[in-house]
Symmetry: C2
Subunit: 517 residues, 2 copies
């Protein structure tokens, strides 16, 4: 159990008055987690091997449609068969296997401060809040197209909770013009947080802008920047078997600069993927291998994170469903394939619910346990995600963060040595029918033994009713408002931020960089 | 995957019209489950052995207070040191070890119909809804002291969901006089369900009444009744280290008749148990061993289920908390001790929340995963439990049953053979950027592949809003009302039920049987 001080907590404590004596309190490191859960297999090993072989066969015999000419040239140069008319690329098994061999098994991610660094490898555990939503919602302001203000507020909430080790693009700031949006989001990430940042892959001009802004703000030389990943992107394939222009370009650009791609075929069983877990994950695996191969052909050893996000549709309506048994099993199967490759990988939780209700809680947590027992290295959409990703909820983020904190507490483990068993300090001290409130062991530990929730309320019914019968959803409103009202950004490189402003002003004047597609 | 027909479902199908052609539909056996989850250890094996040794030392050196003279006589006869003045019993390690050796490792529970039978042993998985609450609540009628009507309605809901394999005493029917209450609850269990019934241990007169009612209603000879457990009771110790009169009497009476006791020290870390997981579970283990020993001294080989229910209090207020990291870890430790003994065991989920909200959902599911990964054989309070057990909620029962159904689906597993991978029937059939809605594999499976929720709603936001923006909690009201409105009891032994009525009429006229304490 690591017990180093977190900036978040020390700041809060300072807020109580610099002269107050430091209180003994529970302090567990949520920033570098190891997955303590035993890993579950949904299929026998020989069937996993069959799925891997089928994926390789698909890449070789059925091929992948690759829309970016440069990507097709890279594949062709490596010996893949390319049909320029159909844009189909047929990738031999040997090419894929060489790429898997060169992909790093361990990725040292460098954040804006050393205590925020983390390593992605099988066994490590990283959480991200829900990402990529066009809408934001909260109980005070309702559901609306997300704005820059929403983006900034979500960023502050993400920074606040240590259990989110990575920044995600939670919502799309739709009131910021698209050719300038990456300046807005990068400035915000450089100013308001020192966690590992995210950049969208929307064409080379935006990507290189982002890399330059990051290096400028954090004072990184080109060599230092390229030596380790300092940021990441998410690459979705267009299932089935299609890699579009900005996604292929992102894979190439991030690999070229030594920055990290997280590859995520986002597939729904019964719609854009086969209806079975085995079929859908075989397709997802093939697509992930194709994308991974492109990174390694671009720059062998480039940091790349294998991944999947596979759930099912409701066959009555065609609507996406999340946190289902099939979603859980798909995570398990993907985990087995990731271990087959030996690579770090991402999975995802999430909810299809339209409000932050019991369905939303149960779906998200059910999917979360699937990811945890699958051994996922990065769990995306682990908090706040509603409507299958169309909306991120302020209250849901706060509610789900409570669950993630409890998972992080489990990562810290527990002890059962002589002091904890406490024959003399507890068990023999208390008479039959007595109580342990005042035992020596309790007195030594009462302030530090248990996790303290930020949301869950243990008041009895009478007290709770007197206080207005406020449910968790409405209490969560108070929690996020309090976090935002008291937010203080971490210490940053002032010169870097000033230089960043100069860069953004110049690039804005030059016309910015529209997204490419 | 077992796919036998469930009575619940065949009935529902008949309701659509006897002449309609049978629809292909998903049909998974939820009645006999095996736990598919890998088991997690919170402590190393040598520390578990230390905890077991410490518990044995406690029983020998510190002793247990046993309030029932007959129980003290049984312990004394076996060689335990008994101090009649203090009512303390000091149980030697050899006595406990012999009892553990004689306790059955597998318990064949006989319900009212053969398809409802199940076996309790390490690896099997049985759920019960929340139990023992003085209050009932639902969104239409509010929170109130529970009545006979509430008892009957909860019984019908418990019968409805196959995933509840055992009947629990969900609420206390407070409007039924205590000397007649066991007639009311036993009649209801015999008439409305064929699942495995529960009887309270409130003194020998009530217990023998219940045994006779069960044998009468189900037409069991004395030999048949005693040959297998046909019912069970829950035995809570009075922590720390006290066994009260009705609990000790229940252990003796159930053992004598070959019926099953589930032993449950219900301890809260920091209050009636040490503040540490290791200390609390060592105490719980000692108490469970003492109770188990009494059953085996009464009748060697009597069916007894080891158990624990340990969570923590909030040290600020002393209020009980559930679904916490400490609760999770306590379940894991208890599971390790149960495997150390080789015995089936019970654990529990539950929530401290005051309403069926996100906190309630997240606490219950978090505790549930602790039980599942601990390998609990019976998971009590797995649905419906609010306020740390003071209230059972109709809506929460429906919401939690959805999660349990999804867990049961995971028990059924998935396949990844040639048909499921579907190279020819799916993967090669669909072109890049196409869809799988009409692939051969989808057409063959669309009606059976996915779990169909009874509560979760996958409508998009617009449709959901048009339908009134009804959250899961309020939808659950419709679900339980529908179940109750359409409830049909299973086929029962009519002669047995008539004889049961005669028995109850006679015993009522004789003055019934007041509870003993």
């Amino acid at each position: 159990m690591v017990t180093s001080q977190t900036p978040e907590r020390s700041k809060r404590r300072r807020g109580r008055g610099a002269d107050a004596p430091p209180k003994p309190s529970r302090d567990v490191n949520y920033r570098q987690l190891k997955n303590p859960f035993p890993q579950m297999e949904v299929f026998p090993a020989d069937h996993i091997a069959d799925m891997h072989d089928t994926a390789l066969r698909m890449l070789q015999e059925l091929g992948v449609r690759v829309l970016l000419p440069e990507a097709r040239r890279i594949f062709a140069k490596a010996g893949a068969k390319v049909d320029e008319d159909s844009e189909m690329v047929f990738i031999g098994r040997d090419i894929v296997e060489a790429a898997v061999a060169s992909a790093p098994k361990s990725i040292a991610c460098q954040a804006g401060a050393r205590h925020r660094d983390f390593t992605l490898e099988l066994g490590s555990l990283v959480f991200q809040p829900g990402a990529g939503a066009p809408n934001a919602t909260d109980l005070e302001r309702g559901r609306r197209p997300a704005t820059g203000q929403d983006y900034l507020e979500f960023l502050k909430l993400t920074h606040h909770f240590d259990v989110f080790q990575m920044i995600s693009p939670q919502v799309e700031p739709q009131d910021v013009p698209t050719h300038l949006r990456h300046y807005f989001t990068t400035r915000a990430q450089m100013e308001l947080t020192d966690k590992f940042p995210f950049f969208f892959s929307r064409g080379t001009p935006q990507i290189t802008d982002c890399f330059e802004m990051l290096s400028t703000a954090r004072g990184l030389s080109d060599d230092v920047f390229r030596a380790n990943p300092h940021c990441y992107t998410i690459i979705n394939t267009n299932s089935p078997r299609t890699l579009d222009i900005p996604m292929a370009q992102g894979l190439i650009d991030f690999a070229r600069y030594g920055q990290m791609s997280i590859i995520t075929p986002f597939t729904l069983m019964g719609a854009m993927a086969p209806i079975t877990v085995a079929g859908a994950i075989t397709l997802s695996h093939a697509e992930a291998l194709a994308a991974l191969t492109l990174t390694q052909l671009t720059n062998p050893g480039a940091p790349v994170c294998y991944g999947t996000f596979t759930s099912n549709v409701d066959m009555k309506s065609g609507a996406p469903a999340f946190g289902t048994p099939s979603h859980f099993q798909a995570s398990l199967a993907a985990g087995q394939l990731a271990r087959h490759l030996g690579l770090p990988w991402r999975s995802a939780a999430g909810s299809a619910s339209n409000s932050n209700d019991v369905q939303a809680a149960n779906e998200n947590q059910f999917g979360l346990w699937g990811c945890l027992m699958a051994g996922a290295t990065v769990i995306i959409h682990s908090a706040g995600w509603l409507e299958g990703g169309l909306t991120v909820s302020f209250e849901k983020l706060v509610c789900d963060a409570e669950v993630l904190n409890m998972v992080a507490e489990l990562c810290a483990g527990a002890q059962a040595g002589r002091d904890e068993i406490g024959f003399d300090t507890a068990l023999a001290e208390v008479e039959p029918s007595g109580h342990f409130f005042a035992s020596s062991q309790t007195m030594a530990r009462y302030n530090t033994e248990f996790y303290q929730p930020h949301l869950h309320d243990y008041a009895n019914f009478g007290t709770w009713a007197e206080r207005g019968s406020v449910d968790a959803n409405h209490r969560a409103t108070g929690v996020w408002k309090d976090i935002l009202a008291n937010f203080e950004p971490p210490d940053q490189n002032g010169d870097g931020l000033a230089a960043l402003e100069t860069f953004i002003a110049r690039r804005t004047q030059e016309g910015g960089a529209p997204p490419e597609s």
